[in-house]
């Protein structure tokens, strides 16, 4: 099914009496394989409204992310949160859509400075499980008119409604960027350097650490600065003369390439194994990976968001570390999501972090209200 308008989409959902698998470009499949008819949103495409002077764009959910980015680039602007392209990591083909990006609250390295996808979403239109067309928020940057269901829709993976339109705050592309790189730090020292850099007034827009073996034999720690020429060179010098002493500066395309690798987790692409996305307090990250290794788990690790986001590449054997990872994460505070795994593994292991009972009850209550027939990606986020 591929409705060509919001009204058609609403009719389809209203008529549905069995499960629907909501799909944008199909590039970010997640969770156990679901039954049901595929409902594609690609027919709802195009930029509805773009006001560069107001830093605002409104776009239909089925629009390719690349198309939106092109429209923004023509005015020297961009999506602030640097959304990841999952195709290399997941080995998928197709065209990532705005709706899929929002449904997964997909953000990249710049998340630490500009916020996540959800932070710059100003408004949504969506169709709930009854087939009712709904809107929330709007297209202005400050809005506390009623509950913020915009945030609720971000990261709900199509289980509460099918997005039809999203309004974003956009930002200007910077004049230039530079990356400060150091080779050969252990994870603890690497993450400590990232935290130190993030504690400076120098507006860091990326802070990552790749363990040894991911890009050659030595580990790579990298910190990004963006902005006006004069400002970037000032901050590079200030950091090199301070908390990032010994780091080398890389600029232009060479700098951009380093961040595309981190954004898309390309060091794990094409390598066998399950991939976990783990969110913890940045300073806890090195201790977390060390503790897991001490328990005998073997894996490769890449740290983004100053250490707050850990990507793990781990053999598929058994539960692919699920029990141990989740136990440690629960102890420290945070969550772990299985982003990649065989169909068999995804059927065996809860893909999303299991929630404590009172929160699980709220989530189930919301699903019941937004999708009483249980037709929208049923079971995907039910834990």
């Amino acid at each position: 099914m591929r409705p060509e308008s919001e009204a058609d989409l609403a009719e389809l959902i209203k008529a549905a009496n069995g499960p629907l698998r909501v799909r944008g470009g199909g590039t970010r499949p997640i969770g156990a394989e679901l039954d049901g008819s595929v409902l594609e949103t690609g027919g709802l495409s195009g930029v509805t409204l773009y006001e560069p002077g107001a830093l605002t764009v409104v776009v239909q959910a089925g629009t390719p992310v690349a198309e939106l980015e092109q429209v923004l680039a023509a005015e020297g602007q961009r999506l602030p949160f640097e959304p990841m392209d999952h195709r290399a990591l997941l080995g998928t083909s197709g065209t990532p859509t705005v709706g899929g990006m929002v449904a997964g609250n997909v953000s990249g390295p710049r998340r630490i400075q500009t916020g996540a996808c959800r932070d710059v979403m100003l408004g949504v239109r969506f169709v709930d499980g009854n087939g009712t067309i709904l809107k929330n928020g709007g297209r202005v940057m400050k809005n506390v008119t009623g509950y913020d269901l915009v945030k609720l829709m971000a990261g709900s993976w199509g289980t509460l409604g099918v997005l039809t339109e999203v309004a974003f705050k956009v930002l200007a592309e910077p004049e230039t960027e530079a990356t400060l790189v150091f080779r050969g730090k252990e994870p603890a020292a690497g993450v400590a350097a990232l935290c130190a850099a993030l504690g400076t007034p120098f507006d860091i827009t990326g802070a990552s650490h790749l363990e040894a073996g991911l890009d050659g034999d030595s580990a790579r720690t990298q910190v990004r600065i963006e902005g006006m020429e004069a400002s970037v060179s000032y901050r590079v010098k200030a950091l090199q003369g301070g908390v990032l002493a010994g780091f080398d500066a890389v600029t232009g395309e060479d700098s951009a390439r380093l961040w595309q690798e981190v954004r898309d987790v390309t060091p794990f692409a094409g390598h066998e194994g399950a991939v976990w996305k783990v969110s913890v307090k940045p300073g806890d990250a090195p201790a977390l990976t060390a503790a897991l290794r001490a328990q005998g788990l073997g894996f490769k690790a890449m740290y983004d968001w100053g250490g707050g986001l850990i990507w793990l590449l781990i053999p598929e054997a058994g539960d692919a570390g699920a029990a141990r990872i989740r136990q440690e994460v629960a102890r420290l505070g945070g969550h772990a999501t299985l982003i990649r795994g065989s169909a068999d593994l995804r059927a065996r292991v809860p893909v999303f972090q299991p929630q404590p009972a009172p929160i699980a009850a709220i989530e189930a209550g919301l699903r019941q209200r937004f999708d009483p027939k249980g037709v929208l990606n049923p079971g995907l986020m039910a834990g």
Binding site: P52, G53, A54, L55, E75, N105, A116, R118, D128, T132, L134, K135, N136, G138, V140, M141, K142, N143, V144, T145, G146, Y147, D148, L149, V150, K151, L152, A154, G155, S156, L160, L171, A172, P174, E175, C195, G199, P201, S231, Y234, S279, V280, K281, G283, W305, G308, G333, G334, H335, A336, T337, F352, Q355, P358, I359, E363, L366, R369, F370, M381
Partner: protein, 482 residues
């Protein structure tokens, strides 16, 4: 502004309810005396007042949980209260409700500079959060103008903003986690020192829910290292349109100032008479502030001034030092006080798409003539958040009602041009009945369905946000169940 009739069965059980609350709180934390409950009869929307049944001042999350459990069992509505600075009536009680004030919960629980967060109890004031970290040169970014008095609890309830949110975002963008107590006393943790949610973004729903989904007792807030410096520049223009175009050009040029403040002629005149900041007499005045090192500030200002000059300003004033910077901000910061000197006023909070600014100002001017009430405009121009101040005489019969009608028309205009009713003050009771101008019945229904999930008995701040007619059946189910 109507409020529901109090439930007589609750009023008649006051002694019993108070006695039960006293079993879980110290004696001085339960206020029931009719003179003393007066202190809680209103918030900063002082036109509406009603003493509550009682007020409680718990000192811990556990005490909040105990209070809510008892009120849940007794079927008593609860109105959470931070510092009572809401301009929208968010903390206005009804005679059958218990005010739950978090003022005694103001501790700093944890400060972590390495991971850049602070964990506080939510009775703590906004400014004292920054106060707790500024010796390490850190700050908490959202800066509502009531920041000296307003509590983090209220900031979360209303998703408060401030002058600097063009760069730093509003409360929801700086809130990492909360401890939330549900109406039945259940305590849940949402978010924390890590980023994003492993399930639905319930934290995002809680922020801005006006105390209707739960009581937030603790919060993890992002703190940032202070920029090396900041400097404002002041510009005067002959026309609102030109000032609006200048704002748009600055933004389009890729410069992101931390603040762009706009004042119109009536506002300039009033603040000059009061604060004598030396502002030029013109139609529109902009204060643009940038941050960074000396080099960075100079580079940004050079571009901003170049753009401003293209719009033929009648005045362009750079701050050479801290003293001059202070004078540039002086008038803006005393604008509300200045208006209060000459009149009673009502402060609105609609947001509009920035490019609609000239049209909206012109329409407000026309309406001002029709209603015969003066209006001064001061607002955050970078993000379109307007604060028209309507001047009226509270002692003149009918003037408040006239002012409210005028205000409602301005807010409808904001919605009409693609904006919203409230940018940072919240709906409360003030804009409750205008919600149907912004949202269709289904849009309000799904929001109320969210409240059904968090607070099935509709006891938390029940008469706010939604038009009374829309929420009536839900509130009545609660009454019938007693």
């Amino acid at each position: 502004m109507q409020m529901p009739e109090p439930d007589p069965s609750i009023l008649s059980r006051k002694a019993q309810i108070v006695a039960r609350l006293r079993t879980v709180l110290p004696a001085d934390a339960v206020i029931e005396d009719e003179m003393e409950t007066r202190a809680y009869e209103c918030d900063a929307l002082t036109a509406y007042r009603c003493p509550p049944l009682a007020a409680v001042l718990p000192a811990s999350t556990q005490e909040v949980s105990d209070v809510l459990r008892i009120c849940h069992e007794e079927g008593v509505p609860v109105v959470p209260r931070g510092s009572g600075t809401s301009l929208a009536g968010g903390a206005l009680p009804t005679a059958d409700s218990v005010i739950l004030g978090v003022a005694r919960m103001n501790d700093v629980i944890e400060t972590d500079y390495e991971n850049r967060f602070i964990r506080v109890q939510t009775g703590r004031t906004n400014l004292s959060v920054t106060g707790a970290v500024e010796e390490e040169d850190f700050f908490y970014a959202p800066d509502p103008s009531s920041q000296l008095a307003c509590a983090i609890a209220g900031n979360i309830a209303m998703n408060s903003g401030g002058a600097h949110c063009l760069k730093y975002g509003v409360t929801t963008n700086n809130l990492m986690g909360v401890t939330l107590v549900q109406m039945d006393g259940t305590i849940v943790e949402l978010g924390g020192a890590h980023l994003d949610s492993g399930g639905y973004d319930l934290l995002g729903v809680i922020c801005g829910s006006e105390g209707q989904l739960g009581v937030v007792t603790e919060a993890t807030l992002r703190i940032l290292r202070k920029p090396e410096g900041a400097r404002p520049v002041l510009m005067g223009f002959d026309e609102n349109e030109v000032a609006g175009a200048c704002v748009s050009d600055i933004i389009k040029a890729g410069i992101l100032p931390v603040a762009i403040e706009f004042m119109d002629r009536p506002c300039i005149e009033a603040t000059e008479a009061f604060a004598k900041a030396g502002y030029p007499m013109c139609e529109a005045l902009l204060i643009v502030e940038v941050e960074g090192s000396v080099t960075e500030i100079a580079a940004q200002l050079e571009r901003i001034l170049e753009i401003a000059r293209r719009h033929n300003p009648v005045e362009l004033r750079e701050a050479k030092d801290a003293d001059e910077a202070g004078r540039i901000w002086l008038g803006r910061k005393s604008a509300f006080g200045a208006m209060g000197q000459i009149n009673d006023y009502m402060c609105l909070d609609g947001t509009i798409p920035v490019n609609e600014l000239p049209y909206v100002l012109r329409r407000i001017g026309e309406m001002s003539k029709q209603y015969g009430l003066g209006v001064a405009n001061v607002f955050h121009a970078g993000d379109g958040n307007m604060h028209p101040l309507i001047l009226f005489d509270a002692n003149k019969p009918g003037d408040l009602e006239l002012c409210e009608a005028f205000g409602a028309d301005i807010l409808r205009l904001c919605v009409e041009v693609g904006g919203c009713l409230t940018g940072e003050h919240g709906v409360g009771i003030e804009k409750r009945d205008l919600m149907t101008d912004q949202y269709a019945a289904e849009d309000l229904e799904i929001q109320m369905a969210v409240k059904d999930v968090f607070d099935p008995s509709w006891l938390l701040n029940p008469a706010k946000v939604f038009p009374l007619g829309s929420s009536e059946s839900r509130r009545n189910v609660r009454m019938a169940a007693e």
